[in-house]
Each structure stands twice: as C-alpha cells, then as structure tokens.
C-alpha cells in the first residue's frame, strides 16, 4: 500500500498543508484580526449594558425604602419624601392607555388576520409600522394639539391617549401574529358545529391566541411605562395626588427626568430610585415574556 508521503509532482517537495504560502499567512492573520474585532464588538455591546445595570442597581437600590413608595414629593431638604403619586400616576396612565389601545389593537389585529384583503392589509401593516416608527415626542406634540389644546388643560386623559398610541402598533402586530399561529383546524371545527364567524373567532380562535396576546400586551405596557417624551406635555406631571381624569398627573419617568437635572442630593436619590424601579419592571417583564414564549414553543 502506497501510503508514504508523496512529493508533489514536478516539485519534489511534500505539499504544504500546514503553513501555506506566504500570502496565506497574511490571510490567516487578517482573519484572526477581524474575528478579534468581532469579539471586541461583542464586548463593546455588553459593557454598556452591564455598566448601566450595575450602576442603576448600585445607586438605585439604596433609594428604595418605605418612604419612596408611600410619601409624596417634598422640598429638596426633606429626607422623608417619596414618589407615591408618580407610581400611582403611571398605573393610572397605563390603565387609560390599555382601555383605549387594547380594543383598538386587538380589533385591528383580528381584522388583518381574519378578514382583510391583501391590499388593504398591506396598507394597514404599513400604517402600523409607520406608527411604531413615529418618534414618541412627536406623539406627545400630536396629542397636545389634539387633546390638551381643546380641553385647555394638561390631563391624565391626554397622557393616557399618548401612551395608547405607543402601545397600539405593538398590540396590533402581536394579535395578528398570534392569531396566525392558531391552526385553521380550530376555526374549522367551530364552523363545522354551526358557530357563526364572530363566535368562532371570539370563542375559539382568540382564546387560543390569548396567552401570546397577553405576553405582547405586557411588553407593550412595559414599553409604555418607560416612556417619558409623550407625557411631557400631555400628563405634564405634578407633586400631588391626581384629582381626576381631566387633571395633570405625574408618572415615574417624569419624576426621574425632572429630578435627574436637579442639583439636590435627595432628589437625585429619588431619580436613581425611579430608574431602578423602571429597570426592574422591564427586566421582569422581559424575562416573564421570554419564559412564557419558550413554554408555548416547547409545548
């Protein structure tokens, strides 16, 4: 059996499969350098994330105490103050935003997934994408002109509408996608039993898609809860308990923003405290959504 190393025909030398020609060295080095840069890019992505999280927790967690959650804002030299009204305000704003955006978003999602013709659906999807790409500050200006000017007052209602516009595109997309995942056989079975179309969708298709829609809704709410810009000239913010839907209301993000720019230590601490609450909320929602999605995918 001729298995001795053979010289390459015409050269008398063994073929070089180890080092390669000179320019191959250069290619190898270039490859290593570029891969090194890619690894560096990954590090450059992770460093900000980790430093942001680290600092938010280091600075923010100590600010979280009983007062933070139960007291109203106070003067800069009062150590016993909190952002209770802002937290309640955020919840109120999210409630209004959900009341408006959930029926709209789920309805639109149902229409796109179950009824719409392909051309109108293309238009609807385009409008949805456009709306999700509109800068949130622009939404604030729009709602200001639409609601605040006619009502002659900043209000919880205006803030809720602004946040609803933030949530709407996310809800439409989630509903559409989740309904699409419901197998046709579910609808078929219901229709075969003589159920009308609307019952089939509301009683069978929608419940099957519900866990996914709820997950998407939670993500939309988390996103809205983290928004500041649309609230600046709609909800405006204040330092008291909110007194009605037509009155200004505070939000956690607004407090974080206003306090961060102040030179007083007490207020800065509140700002960090708000930042850590917002971050924790995002962290928990994202993890919950991820777990829920994985569980569904695993089924």
């Amino acid at each position: 059996m001729a298995t001795q190393v053979q010289p390459v025909a015409g050269t008398g030398a063994v073929r070089d499969l180890r080092r390669g020609p000179a320019n191959f060295q250069a290619r190898r080095v270039r490859s290593s350098v570029m891969l090194g840069l890619i690894y560096a890019a990954v590090v450059a992505t992770l460093i900000p994330l980790l430093t942001v999280l680290t600092w938010v927790f280091i600075q923010g967690l100590p600010a979280l105490n009983w007062d933070f959650f139960t007291q109203l804002p106070g003067p800069a030299d009062d150590p016993h103050q909190g952002v209770a009204n802002s937290i309640v305000g955020t919840v109120q704003l999210l409630g209004i935003a959900s009341l408006i955006s959930v029926p709209l978003g789920v309805g639109a999602g149902i229409y796109i997934s179950e009824f719409g013709g392909s051309r109108y659906n293309t238009l609807l999807r385009f409008a949805t994408d456009v709306l999700s790409g509109v800068p949130s500050i622009t939404i604030g200006v729009f709602v200001y002109a639409l609601v605040v000017l006619p009502m002659r007052s900043f209000s919880m209602l205006a803030g809720g509408i602004a946040l609803a516009l933030v949530m709407l595109p996310i809800l439409i997309r989630t509903t559409e996608e989740m309904l699409r995942l419901v197998p046709g056989s579910v609808r078929e079975a219901a229709l075969a039993l003589g159920a009308p179309m609307w019952k089939t969708i509301m009683r069978y298709a929608l419940p099957a898609a519900l866990p996914g829609i709820v997950t998407g809704g939670l993500l939309a709410m988390a996103r809205a809860a983290g928004e500041t810009a649309p609230l600046l000239f709609t909800a405006l913010g204040n330092n008291q308990w909110n007194t009605g839907i037509t009155q200004p209301v505070d939000a956690l993000t607004l407090k974080v923003f206003f306090y961060a720019g102040q030179p007083y230590e007490v207020w800065r601490r509140e700002s960090w405290g708000g930042a850590v609450v917002l971050t924790l909320m995002i962290l928990i929602t994202s993890i919950l959504a991820r777990v829920a999605t994985n569980r569904r995918a695993g089924r």
């Binding site: 001729a2 298995t3 390459v8 073929r15 070089d16 499969l17 180890r18």
Partner: protein, 285 residues
C-alpha cells in the same frame, strides 16, 4: 465516448446498464490520491460512519452509491474536513492526502479545501456576484493577479462547457442562469483554483436529464486533470461515469459502512457482497 451496454449478470434491472468503458481498465498502479483508513464519524452521540477503508485512485472517477442515510455524503465531507462545518460532527481515523494525514494536528483545513474542492447538491452561486466574479471568487481570496484571474476564469468556463453560453454576459448576475448552467458555473468556480481533487455531492440530483448528461460529460473530460469522487443516488449515473464504485450500506446499528469497493464493471455485474447485489438489483434502497 466509448461505452458498452451489457446485461447485468445479476438480478433483473429494468434497463440494461451503460458501463463506462474505462471501468474495464486494470486498477491504477499509481499511489492513491486519497487513502482512507478506519474512518469513523459521529454527529453528536450518533455514529454515522464505521470503519471505512478505501483508496481513491488519481485522475479517475470514484462513485459512491448506497441507499439514503447510509453516510455517503458524510463520508465525502470527511475527505476535505467539510464535516467540521456541521455543529457536533467529528471524525476519527485517517484520511491520507498524497500520503499526508489531513486530520493531524497542525494541518490547516483551509489549505486542504483549497486542494480538495467541492461541488454541492444544489447549485449555490453567489447571487450578489456576477458570473465572472463567481468563478473568480476562489482566486480572489488567494490574491491572484488580475491577468491570471481573467485567464483562469475563461479557462474554467471552457472546462465547464459554459463559455459559449456566457461569454457575452460575464458581468450579469449569476442568478440569471438556468439551474443546469448554475451548477456548471459552480463546477467552473471549483476548478478555477486548480484543486487536485474534486468532491461532488449528488451534483445532478436537482437537474433535468439533459443538464445531468452535460454534467456527466464534463466529469469525463475533467478526469484528465482531476481526481473526482462523486456521491450519487443514481446507479445509472455511477455506472456511466465512474471507474471505481464504492457501495455504502446502513448497518443494523444505523451507522454507515462501506460494504464493497471495486472496479465499476465488477460491482455492477459481479458483486461480491450479497447486500451490494440486493441493492444493485433494486431489492433494497
């Protein structure tokens, strides 16, 4: 092309086999281009190949046939370490290329593949590159000078019998070609870097009969310069083009093994292994 039609000695095929005339030639006395010793391959915990031993003669066509799932494509990939691209795949044993073990520490797989090229089952031209740049791709990465690239591209397209069809549209996208043309383009791309060995993984399985015939004609031309190893599920094709045929089978433990290898005429007319006979006559696979 000198070919003879014979009635296969065993079993009853629906059609007579056309067997490559060269398959009668006495086995090459030259040193093998590739020698495989006790090759094993795994995907994760699953053993895909067991104890493969074969020698690939230079400037001949070696066909590997066998039922699907028998590991013949895996085996082909082990010959230029392309199996390493698949996550979880690994191989053990020896593959000697010109006497050098390619699995040895320090051997660079990139250099192996530059000398042992591959044509794939589905034509995979680079869609964003022109016809010219597709053929030039391998030369460009090696930093070949401009004049050399132009010359080699033309020659490779001639070798792939594609020149006349594309010479007026070299700078159009490769995707403008038909399926058969795309596969020949991929062949031109592979030979442009002048490898020693060309591995072909069912190169004609996605093509119509005429395009298939064209690829087969090309292989017979190319074997003057290149050692060719082709995996095919098409027994007629193996019989038509190859000098040597190897037959893979699935063992009871689902690993693939090489049950028989020999001159093509012998495999198709007088197989030594009963499983080969059963496969050739259409009883399995």
């Amino acid at each position: 092309m000198a070919q003879t039609e014979v009635e296969p000695a065993v079993g009853s095929l629906l059609r007579p086999l056309t067997i490559n005339a060269a398959a009668d030639a006495t086995p090459s006395t030259e040193a093998p281009a590739l020698a495989v010793k006790d090759l094993q391959a795994w995907y994760g915990g699953f053993q895909a190949l067991k104890d493969i031993n074969i020698q690939i003669a230079p400037r001949q066509i070696t066909a590997l046939i066998g039922p699907s799932g028998c590991g013949k494509s895996t085996f082909l990939r082990c010959l230029n370490r392309m199996h390493e691209v698949i996550p979880g795949a690994r191989a053990a044993g020896e593959v000697l290329f010109e006497g050098q073990s390619i699995y040895e520490q320090g051997i660079n797989p990139v250099l192996i593949r530059r000398h042992i090229g591959m044509v794939f089952q589905k034509a995979n031209p680079f869609p964003t590159k022109s016809i010219f740049e597709n053929v030039a791709a391998g030369l460009r990465i090696q930093g070949a000078p401009k004049a050399m690239i132009a010359e080699r591209v033309e020659r490779s397209l001639h070798q792939a019998a594609l020149w006349d069809e594309v010479k007026d549209k070299l700078h159009q996208p490769a995707t403008s070609l038909s399926g058969g043309q795309q596969q020949r383009l991929c062949l031109a791309r592979t030979v442009a870097v002048e490898p020693e060995i060309v591995l072909m993984d069912e190169p004609a399985s996605a093509l119509d009969p005429i395009a298939t015939l064209k690829i087969e004609e090309l292989m017979l031309q190319l074997k003057q310069h290149y050692t060719i190893v082709i995996v095919t599920h098409n027994m007629q094709q193996a019989a038509r083009v190859s000098d040597t045929t190897g037959v893979f089978m699935v063992r009871p433990d689902r690993a693939g093994e090489l049950v028989e290898v020999g001159p093509t005429r012998q495999i198709f007319t007088n197989p030594q292994d009963s499983r080969t006979e059963a496969y050739i006559t259409g009883r399995i696979g």
